[in-house]
Symmetry: C2
Subunit: 365 residues, 2 copies
């Protein structure tokens, strides 16, 4: 009996010690796991199932988050095929219908004009320059300010790399050639094109090839070789113009803030880190895919002509851009703050890009 | 007595259940934490205490790894001031004296020539291009092949961005101007300079400013504005040459493979993810710091003259580069494999860079 009680006491002691080691929330001992609940987070993405690169990014995020959390985070991804609302992601996450989203910030400019500035802006920063702005130039803080109002946290979600200016059926030699030009070019860049007399039109992705082939439109922009190859535009429009309107488009992850705040600190860190690494990885992926697809396009269609708008055309487009930005800044103080932050940062970092990557790339042709 | 035994059994059962939930290695239940031991990993870095940017990268890595693992990983960083051996990192990690390292791969070329190719190569890939090569072009697999022989895993460790060609006291107008030029330029780039008749010399960092000021050397390369500003070279050498020899230098994290393999899978994933995100973050940090420091330099010393070597000089340097690479390839089949992988990837991805970022940066001056 005495022995049994001794053993019993020893076991109780063991359990108490175990509790102290495993369950406590305070800092001692450091081996404590705060919380071993499983959190299932549902993510809605703008993209259809198995969409290349963009869809690979959410899969990569899921894999990282689940592995690092040893299954305490479960990520369930619903593509557009499931939730049926490509542009419903912001509302899904704001309302809590989904916990997470993957989309593009500039899609929400109709809901909040200040979301416009976190994807890419015409004549703006390249992907590298903008990554530096987000992390070290105040960009993330401004994005937090815009999204907190909606109960959302927004995190970088992957860069498409510099987007091409698009596929044109005829050459653009002067601003006159843009007047009346029917072009699929959505968003703010479309507004700029309208300012100089073009006719921006919106056509569903599935109908673009036929529209370009039949001359319903004269030109269109999509992404770059990474995603243009499968669309086949190079078969029906020979001029491939270099980019100016989205020099480094960053997708975004969205997180419902209430859900985020309810997570233990370690899972919060895992979530954000998995998102950011997936985002940077998508930039490498985009560059790789564009490199490979561009090689394929050139081989199969050696007559593709790469062109850049003449500087006089850019001068007009830039004047239209500055006018539209000026109007936005005049209407909304936070817009003004973000436009100025981007402008000032670009001035500084482009001076560096010019003596580093640009000088290097121009040193040998 | 019977009651005590019943209680005893209940407690035993409790412990057994607890074991099933907390200790098992299999997949059920999903909330299980595989392993709640604390792993203390010691990291040796090449840099002195509080070295900017490079040292911030290991601190960022430590913070991410410890937070994501909720303290199950403890990272202890020893800087050069502590371990006294800036270039001992490879041996430290190989022998297991340290678990982790943070340094530059090309420092180990005397120990294994194939480590040379994973930092940056003259006339090679930019940071973006090389990131794509590491992740999608076979670079990581080749690095694994080289380092596995030494019982080490190597992971990207942060990019300095395009390195400047260096500070020169006089202008370089032809290859003749390089002949006899005393320049601090270490490593493979130094060998190239020697091929064209320059006199590469190695001088400790602390003596460089005085050596340049007094004319003991005629030129030196360091990094870029991010780290050059504090060295003060712009005060004594007016010509700042754009880069060619390290177009995107990637640092490296080293992991002792035995130690890595003994970690549970979730901590392995946390370790690698924290390293890679810290690495990408350092690239943003480098670009930001160079942008800010370059603005400061230009303001304080408006007479700094940014120059690029004439194309004829580059032609000679490139010929020397190709000759030396050819010699390395002939000596070692794995060197040949890596050199060819880098070359072929560069051909493909530069064609993309030329029509994207390069065309964009050249569109408006």
């Amino acid at each position: 009996m005495k022995k049994i009680i001794q053993l019993f006491t020893a076991i109780l002691l063991l359990i108490t010690t175990a509790n102290a080691t495993w369950f406590n929330n305070d800092d001692k001992p450091k081996t404590a796991t705060q919380d071993n609940k499983t959190y299932t987070l549902r993510l809605a993405e703008t993209w259809p199932s198995n969409f290349p690169i963009f869809g690979d990014t959410t899969k990569k995020f899921k894999q990282l988050a689940e592995t690092m959390s040893n299954g305490r985070l479960k990520i369930r991804i619903d593509s557009k095929n499931k939730h049926k609302s490509a542009l419903g992601i912001f509302d899904f996450v704001k309302s809590g219908q989904y916990d997470l989203g993957h989309s593009g910030s500039y899609y929400w400019k109709g809901k909040d004009i200040n979301t416009l500035f976190f994807t890419s802006m015409p004549f703006g920063m390249t992907a590298n320059e903008q990554h530096a702005w987000f992390e070290y130039g105040g960009g993330q803080e401004l994005m937090d300010k815009v999204y907190a109002k909606h109960g959302i946290k927004s995190i970088i979600g992957g860069n498409t790399s510099n987007q091409m200016g698009g596929w044109f059926k005829k050459e653009i030699n002067s601003i006159e050639d843009l007047k009346g030009l029917k072009m699929r070019i959505p968003g703010f860049a479309g507004e700029i094109m309208a300012e100089v007399g073009a006719k921006p039109t919106n056509i569903p992705a599935g109908e673009l090839y036929t529209a370009l082939d039949r001359g319903t439109i004269d030109a269109l922009e999509w992404v770059g070789p990474s995603l243009d190859l499968r669309m086949g535009f190079h078969k029906v429009a020979p001029y491939y113009y270099t980019g100016w309107h989205e020099p480094g488009s960053e997708l975004q992850f969205l997180i419902n803030l209430k859900k985020y705040n309810a997570l233990p600190k370690d899972l919060q860190a895992i979530l954000i880190t998995a998102m950011k690494l997936s985002a940077y990885d998508m930039y490498a992926h985009s560059n790789d895919a564009s490199a490979k697809n561009w090689a394929t396009m050139k081989k199969d269609y050696p007559n593709i002509k790469v062109k850049t708008f003449p500087k006089a055309v850019f001068a007009k487009l830039r004047a239209a851009n500055d006018k539209l930005l000026g109007e936005l800044a005049a209407k909304n103080p936070l817009s003004k703050e973000i436009i100025e932050s981007r402008h000032n940062y670009l001035q500084k970092i482009r001076a560096w890009t010019n003596i580093s990557d640009k000088a290097y790339l121009n040193s040998f042709d």
